[in-house]
Symmetry: C2
Subunit: 300 residues, 2 copies
Amino acid sequence: MDKFLIANQFEHLQDHICKKVQEIDGVAFFKEDKWQREEGGGGRTRIIEEGGVIEKGGVNFSAVHGPVSDLMKKQLGLDGKEFFASGVSIVLHPFNPNVPIIHMNVRYFEMDTGVFWFGGGIDLTPHYVIPENAALFHAGLKKVCDRFKADAYESYKNWADDYFFIPHRDETRGVGGIFFDHLDGQSGKSKDEILNFCIELGQLFPEVYQQQVELGKVKSYGEEELQWRNIRRGRYVEFNLVHDKGTKFGLLTGGRTESILMSLPKEANWFYNYEPKADTAEALTLSMLKKGVDWLGLNN
Amino acid sequence: MDKFLIANQFEHLQDHICKKVQEIDGVAFFKEDKWQREEGGGGRTRIIEEGGVIEKGGVNFSAVHGPVSDLMKKQLGLDGKEFFASGVSIVLHPFNPNVPIIHMNVRYFEMDTGVFWFGGGIDLTPHYVIPENAALFHAGLKKVCDRFKADAYESYKNWADDYFFIPHRDETRGVGGIFFDHLDGQSGKSKDEILNFCIELGQLFPEVYQQQVELGKVKSYGEEELQWRNIRRGRYVEFNLVHDKGTKFGLLTGGRTESILMSLPKEANWFYNYEPKADTAEALTLSMLKKGVDWLGLNN
């Protein structure tokens, strides 16, 4: 499978997801910014704002290539002169605090040495954690993982627990999901099979998000829930700016800042030393933001 | 000068600044959280919230010591087994968009090998840049710098331009100020002289901030100015979480998260690709967020 065909499939995936997300939102439409990268390649940033469900979100496609810089060598440990990278990245921030934030990314990397790999993940960040809803989300992911490889769900779920973690808060970002990186020929799967897994994940994305939106959007909320939403969004900002490798790498290597930082919410709050009162929905949520939660009860 | 006496002077400086900031604010009082560090030492975090001028701010003192971890060795290039560090850190976020955000830090570091150094800085981040007000601020800094050393202002002003810079935005954080680090015996000044410079800077802090508050707080504002304030605050968050060495080092080495992140504003906004209209106060502000602005007209 040629790299340009892979990028082309990612482009189609972006189209598909945007169409579905617009249907889920019901009000707003994506606006597109096409951009070019000086050293080679470019992308299509698509932003949705002030919708029926989504306050701010982006579904980005990019396919970039060019010489490997010293920083890339150092950060990625790359061996080679020219790289090619393509992917789809999504973050959606809903307005209703009862609807979770969601993130997805699938990406392909190739070097002129012939080395290639895929990476990606989907994770869910509910402002209010509801175990049944988290289980529904994980069940969707497991189904696609199981079709790919017997141990994929367990292994990628643990990887997500470790990756989407905020050490300085000792909290996971949300209820996790799956994360994988450096999937190559040594994974026991062919390039086509791995690409197919990425595309299936991308196609799953609007399905699992629609479920979460439908469960959450019927619930009412007040000022208190909006404030809690904004505090959780603050944590999302902290994760993305302090820990997320993709964000840091993008900003350091001169990626398009506005495309990368579309992941930040319209509005976030920080209160000094905020602690929810005992036995509230907020305290319950905090108690569940831990690694290793067995949402599907697989080990019971 | 013994390290405990230095910490003691910093503690007194915190007391002095808190007293003065309360007078400037006129409404709110600081609340104190004393904390202990497991490996040795601790601090006094003082937070002011919902005041007459300040929406959220902190004036922190800490004096910590203990074994040098591998991370400290790597990040600070430290040679030695035990360290001692003490300092005062301030960030104030005013409510009125016409009053600037301000930051100050003075710090002392000592190793069991006998090596020591001071570091510090003050910088101003107006939501709306007004050159005359920036000049007033810089004139205050220059006066204290001139008493310390002939070339101190110019050199530390340039250092601040480089340090308080957001590469991924190609913007300075604000109108700069001064920044210095690793000031030791080789600076041509004695330990007592450097400490005295740090204390004088600390005493200058409430004076220069009072000037800025008085110039700004009489100006009215509306929804548009509040939104712009929140966008500028978003940039402040980006600088602190992506670039600020002190914040990153603190979070990575297990510092007290709530004391470190008191620097984040109560409320911040991110809009995709926001650009102010031409010939507005907002556009004028952006045009002045550059390195190397000669606020005092010294080179004319």
